[in-house]
Symmetry: C2
Subunit: 495 residues, 2 copies
């Protein structure tokens, strides 16, 4: 959701005196959190997960009411959210995330005598998290950014998304209460609201990092503020993606039904309101995929969008797309009244290449563009049109020579390559990467999903020649926290 | 060295057509480098190290002539430079840097069935490296940024520093020749020159990251360009630091001679032209440290600066510092003619607190400010004056209660805390961190020294559901490169 959109909904800002107090409390909490033991923070996150699970009967209907998403989807999303908290608790107990590294003094070090050097990661400080509209649990108040920042030992100022204000407020109260019950310090977490509040947060010198999930326009505006501060801060913005999917000739010939049904299910999931929605599908001309996709999409029901603002933005983007030269509507309506149903547009690679900027814009809702290609050269040329993407998908038998070239082109442009599957449904795991080159994100090296998300909120400090009794526990010689550590260049695990 | 300084020396720019070709070749090389095996890159770096070592008799005198630094220092710096290449070769053979992570498909994954997900780090793409003036080897053409970028598998456009143009050119020829001899692809490395060239590089859409060592003004200007591109890129700037050192009452009482001699040696090393020079020394009033330091500093000889531009900039900064209220010169001259000798200024914490911005400015040359404190409260108040620093130093017995508070305050502000030592002489190791909050650097989470420097030039990609035969070797099931990998959450080492 854009900052404009938030303003348009007239959600009142957190009063500036209150915001100042909350940021001050977060800064004070951050100083204490530096010394918190990761296993203690694990306990906080687990307690929060338990409490949110227990509140499902309160939270899920409230989310449904404010977002128009289905109860099943929301129950699944809440489960994902509490699982995420539990997975970060596991990471905290493992301790690898601290990257504790010890080099003992070595007079024979080849470049000259080496002093004792010990490095670990520390929390970066108070973090501003901007909640998303489209995941009222998993990318909102108690979502992945909050979980990873708390796991890192940072305090969090959570800028609520105005599309689910009541849920944000109620969830925030659960988070604050659970953290307090579990023994976390005062000031570690607060929910704030409003357009001006969001701007004030990213400019506040006490805030040391920010994360955001939403539109390119809103995210870039906040990024620009973050990097133009007197002291720039890291800004982790996940902004948008059209997630192109490519069906090779072989897959088109042999798996057309699978591809068509999987594609329609993925592009219409959550009424198309996913950052990983496959917005373009490249298909071999003449394989009959358009007909299959159009038939399946045409059976799908209309459904309400997350908000009126999102609905009108979608309708406008869709109308523009449908008017481009060479673009045909093959299922659904380009100018829906009321709730939209899935719509499929179609064009050719040559038309796409002639109008690539307009035809590769994100259209946030249940629309997708099928693009037919006539040769492998056209397929590869089309793949090179894209800027940074969260994902790209390949449907292939894997035996075709074009696949390897396609994989190379896409690996250069995206954060995740999906093979014979679909990009929606981002699993929370150790190996997940939810990121990608700009404009998919403002930070090509980080992820907002999966355990590596904790890295965003940590920074290294090295201690040189410090005596054992002043070193942090993670770096003391006898390893009181039993951490995996790299010692004199060799990784040492704890049995 | 600032971009202004470069311009002032009138060093000609690389012609724009030539620059365009070089960046094009670097982009082409980068595409091939993605598939290069880390152990092959290790061989390239080792060959480069061997060749540079063999060229010492050519390179060191040339460096001495252009920088006025001593032969011993330059020999040591070249050794450090070639060691750095060798250490990255070791990292490449170890393979941990790829962070290969494999999650097998798991239908019982608690948040819902998990697909097969495999993540690794890939090279970020062509990198622009801006060489420093004050380390003609270690932070210049074949220095740490070049070594870490090549190690990561990136091509490098090296913007030469105009203070040692001939050395840059000759070293660059050795780098290009050595890489070619070792089998690296064409276009992997080139030296470019000139103020406008530096600007063009950071704005070129084919450049995917930049690193810089130099002044706050020049570095911030390039950072601003990097983040205001249509597609912002990571900009790793190491900009400046005053590296405060704090002597506790106990250390002042019992180790005054050691502290005084160590401090004078460190602040005058390389004629004060180090980014880690301790520029402020906080001492207990009445411990007699001023007299000791002044006596030792007064014995030090004058020496030429790296360039006339740096000399005049130093003279100007020093004159401004010496004129501030409450600042006294206790050794040396505030307005030297010709080559400067070390100068020690002195003030009190109360004067510092009243004029902290002016008194904590970096003065790049052989000057330092001693600041006397009358109480532990004053000591702690002074420590809180500082913005981000590369280093801070504590001299303490470790038994004093104030030490722990001081350590907390400094750990929040700096990249490296030095205990009973001095910050100059940054060892290249696994645990080293040469970074820190702004304005020490523009990127609080990264280091430009030590093996972790490679992280700056890598980005993650995850493959979902991909068959083994299309996966990169690092992620294939049978682990052909014998990498340490995290598999289903558990780190697996290779024996």
């Amino acid at each position: 959701m854009t900052v404009d959109e938030q303003e348009s909904q007239g959600l009142g800002d957190t009063p500036s005196e209150e915001l100042d107090e909350l940021v001050g409390a977060a800064a004070e909490a951050a100083r204490g959190l530096v010394d918190s033991r990761p296993s203690d923070r694990a306990g906080w996150l687990e307690h929060l997960a338990t409490r949110l699970d227990a509140a499902a009967e309160e939270l899920v209907p409230l989310a449904a009411q404010e977002t128009h998403l289905g109860l099943d989807r929301l129950q699944g999303e809440l489960k994902r959210t509490t699982f995420q908290l539990q997975l970060f608790a596991e990471i905290l107990r493992d301790g690898s995330f601290l990257q504790a590294t010890i080099d003992h003094a070595d007079p024979a070090w080849p470049m000259g005598a080496r002093p004792d050097l010990r490095r670990m990661l520390r929390p970066i400080g108070p973090v501003a998290v901007y909640a998303a509209s489209n995941f009222p649990f998993a990318f909102s108040v108690a979502g992945g950014d909050t979980a990873s920042a708390l796991a890192a030992g940072c305090s969090v100022l959570l800028k609520a998304n105005p599309s689910h204000p009541e849920l944000s407020w109620v969830t925030g109260a659960h988070v604050s209460d659970a953290l307090a019950e579990a023994g976390a310090p005062d000031g570690i977490f607060a929910v704030v609201r409003g357009f001006e509040t969001g701007i004030a947060l990213v400019k506040d010198p006490r805030i040391r990092a920010a994360s955001f999930t939403g539109s390119l326009r809103g995210g870039r505006a906040l990024f620009d503020l973050a990097v133009s501060r007197p002291e720039p801060i890291p800004f982790y913005g996940e902004l948008g993606s059209v997630n192109p999917a490519f069906v090779t000739p072989d897959a088109g010939a042999h798996r057309a039904d699978d591809v068509a049904s999987g594609f329609v299910a993925s592009m219409s999931l959550g009424n198309g309101q996913f950052c990983t929605k496959p917005g373009l599908l490249f298909v071999p001309a003449g394989a009959g995929l358009e007909g299959r996709v159009a038939a399946l999409a045409g059976e799908r029901p209309a459904a309400p969008m997350l908000s009126e603002h999102i609905r009108s933005g979608y309708a406008e983007a869709l109308a523009q797309l449908a008017q481009r030269p060479g673009v045909r509507v093959i299922a659904g309506q380009a100018s829906p009244e009321g709730d939209p149903a899935p719509i499929i547009l179609a064009t050719t690679v040559s038309d796409l290449l002639a109008d690539s900027e307009a035809l590769t814009q994100e259209c946030f809702g249940p629309a997708a563009l099928m693009v037919s290609y006539r040769s492998e050269d056209e397929l590869l040329a089309a793949a090179q049109v894209f800027e940074g993407q969260l994902t790209a998908t390949i449907h292939s038998s894997g035996q075709e020579p074009v696949t390897s070239a396609l994989l190379d082109v896409l690996s250069e442009r995206v954060g995740r390559v999906v093979w014979n599957g679909w990009p929606t449904g981002v699993s929370v795991t150790y190996a997940q990467h939810h990121g990608g080159p700009y404009p998919a994100t403002t930070s090509v090296q980080t992820t907002s999903v999966g355990t590596a998300a904790i890295d965003r909120f940590l920074r290294p400090v090295t201690y040189q020649g410090a005596p054992d009794d002043v070193l942090p526990p993670a770096l003391k010689e006898h390893n009181p926290w039993r951490l995996p550590r790299r010692v004199d260049g060799v990784l040492q695990q704890v049995s």
